[in-house]
Amino acid sequence: MEISNSEMVEHAETLQETEPSCSILLAGLGGAGGNIIKAFANRLPQGVRTCALNTDAKALEACGEVERVLFGKKITRGMGTGGSVDTALQVVEDERPQLDKLLGGVDLVISFTGLGGGAGTALLDGLASAAVRADVAHLAFAIQPFTFEGKARAEVAETFLGKVRNKVHGLVALPNDLILQLGDEDLSAEDAFAEANRWIIQAVRSICLMIQTAGLINQDLQSLLATLNERGGRTLFAVGGGAGTSSVADLLQSLIDCPLLEVADGKLRCDQLLVQITGGKRLGLAKVNQIISRLGDYFECREDIRFGASIDAQMEDAIDITLIGKIDLRTRVHAPSDDTGTLNLGVLDHQEPAPKGANEPTRPDRPVYTSKLSRKERKEGTQQEEFEFLSAEAQRGLFEKTERNLYQGEDLDVPTFLRKGIQIKA
């Protein structure tokens, strides 16, 4: 972690001479996003743009030396939205061109948002749509509100999480409640947030390094995109690490213990996996090999596993591991095509948001009644996806609330045909 900025810059610069580097934008949306961007200061390789977006001029001011974009001067006069999503959505809608401009020439945008409030929530939605329009890869870190912040905020967060999921390539949801689990009772709020930011920083830093520098075993933006596959689905994210002398098992444990990795219980299977290992000069290939194969086993991902390894002289004996995985939910709504008309912005794209109806924009636009005729037509045309199960828990039916029936890493309570992906035409 403790890498001086200047040396990092050197490293990045030598590379920039030889090949055109890919352009990465880190966007902090809203208040919480701004705080994270601020924490990044001086800890990033060069060539990474940082930018804070907010509707509150005061908060933006506090973000320090980054690119700043103030939204909604007309509507809020730079005084924030007061936590109202509706106002914020209106602002974002008004200033769509500004978002598009921001993404010009960018290859990958990584955004940070605290969900549940006004600006951040709406900006994430807007940015995600803009990224779809500009065909920019988008990895979003979304922080979910504390439970004690009340049900209203949680609901807003939940709704937008679902909405954004299908528009971004990767979505890492981080429940703020996890922070409460950190450290001791007397851990100060500042330290707790700093600790949480530390994971995000390590994760983002290693992504940037992976993409921008040539590694021992090289991975680039394309590998990241291939791992994230298409928009939608569930993203796994974890960082871990340790001293070079620590055993492979310890390293893996640190990775699995990482709170960013939201593993409900038992094992998780993932469809694609990307592992990036950064170590000092003494990083052994045998160790890399062991780590990768053990991770592949752990996540039961043997077919589609990409890994990169890079040497960072500053790391000396330490090893950092970053893991990005993707679970293709069967329910995945296919990535919206280039003409983003209907799916992306839902209701918002077509009509002015009603100023009073608080729930209006979040309601799915579903027809009130589908005639039997239209249903018939659909049957003959494209093949329907037959299952729409959202969570792993919902796949267990009768056994929903019982202990997991794990047998050689598979949950036997989940129907065989689902686990094996056998098409059943009901």
Partner: protein, 401 residues
């Protein structure tokens, strides 16, 4: 009257709780004089989920059985299944102590003690030690007593259970003021009821597919050499159907019974079946092929797991007499054909022996009936070690009602 012995057998299964009362008369003939069956609630996948519900069901079943037999039970034999069971092969040895190298009782006992001395981790207890042939100087020997050799080894296939699960079941039965005389592995009990001596000697695989679990036993040369439990049963078929066809659970169960078949055939593609059958509101047609494909995949997988568990045993020794399927799911048409395909060996459905009254003749009762036959053995041996092959030879002739 004084010679009359009353034996009770209880099986706490995922879908039903069955209690049988048997009577041994003066001529050592076993009569089943009463039975009680109660459909279970509070049990999932062979493990107790709601103690209170299960307790009520067991009490019901026992009272029904007692009433129909006109006797009261004071102790019962209990069948045991569930994913918490674990089998392992134990082997212990002793050097023959006598100078003339003749094996005596003491040597055998020491070898047996040594084998059983393998200590389990905390929270687990042994359920059954199933004796396998002795080895004298590495040679398989049925009866080592009096043989000459320098080292004798005793082998067991031992099954241990989670103490917590076991004591839950014990508590249910003890709560009705009945003692549990012994706990017996469901799979070996079913196997005792559905296989013949010849089959066991030739080697056969008994698969008992119940509501929540699948138990299996592999016989070789008359001995049980492997047992195991796969935590999948008929309920999983129902659940798969209910999710695959999007039917309510009750309808799915009904659909399974009416239209279920273990193999999806090409001609099924043309057929559709009504979900409810009475064409009431909400009734709809489901693809027969889809339903059967769902069942086939689940069963294939289960059979595959069994093959996996048996591992090299299956290849090296084979199952000469084939596969015997029993338990409630063995009623599913076509399941024997599927097993034949999967195990590449002849397969049949096994039912309790001839002579058992018709209400107990279905494969779902084989565990309970088998339990009684085991119970007689235990009663005869009285404190001695249960030697399955010997007493079972006797049992076969006993089975006439």
């Amino acid at each position: 009257m004084s010679n009359r012995k009353i034996l009770g057998a209880v099986e706490i299964g995922t879908s039903k709780i069955a209690v049988l009362v048997g009577e041994l008369d003066e001529d050592d003939m076993l009569n089943i004089i009463g039975h009680g069956v109660c459909s279970s609630s509070g049990i999932r996948k062979g493990a107790i989920f709601q103690l209170k519900d299960v307790s009520d069901c067991v009490q019901n079943a026992i009272i029904t059985a007692e009433q129909s037999a006109g006797v009261s039970l004071s102790e019962v034999f209990l069948a045991q299944t569930g994913a918490h069971l674990q089998g392992r092969f134990l082997k212990g040895g002793a050097n023959v102590s006598a100078a003339d190298r003749v094996i005596r009782h003491g040597d055998i006992e020491r070898a047996q003690k040594d084998a059983k001395s393998f200590s389990l981790e905390g929270g687990r207890v042994y359920v059954n030690h199933i004796r396998n042939p002795f080895l004298v100087d590495g040679q398989t020997v049925e009866e080592p007593l009096g043989r000459i050799g320098s080292r004798i080894e005793a082998c067991y296939w031992s099954v241990d259970a989670s103490q917590r699960v076991l004591s839950d079941q014990m508590r249910v039965i003890n709560g009705i003021d009945i003692n549990v005389r012994d706990v017996i592995l469901s799979s070996s009990a079913s196997a005792a009821a559905v296989t013949s001596e010849v089959e066991k000697d030739t080697g056969c695989l008994v698969i008992d597919i119940g509501g929540g679990t699948t138990d299996f036993v592999l016989y070789h040369s008359g001995y049980i050499v492997r047992t195991g439990v796969i935590p999948v049963g008929g309920d999983h078929l129902t659940n798969d159907l209910s999710m695959g066809l999007r039917l309510a659970r009750r309808l799915a169960e009904d659909f399974k019974l009416r239209h279920g078949h273990a193999i999806a055939r090409k001609e099924d593609r043309a057929h559709r079946a009504w979900a409810v059958g009475d064409r009431s509101v909400g009734d709809r047609e489901c693809s027969l092929y889809a339903a059967r494909k769902i069942i086939e995949e689940r069963l294939r997988e289960t059979f595959f797991f069994i093959q996996n568990e048996l591992g090299d045993f299956l290849q090296s020794r084979g199952i000469g007499a084939g596969v015997v399927l029993t338990g409630g799911t063995a009623n599913l048409p076509g399941i024997a054909d599927l097993a034949e395909k999967c195990f590449n060996a002849p397969a049949r459905t096994g039912r309790p022996p001839q002579g058992v009254k018709s209400s107990l003749a279905g494969p779902e009762y084989s565990t309970c009936v088998g339990l009684l036959t085991y119970a007689i053995g235990a009663d005869e041996a009285e404190g001695q070690e249960t030697e399955a092959p010997r007493f079972l030879r006797k049992i076969r002739s006993l089975f006439n009602l």
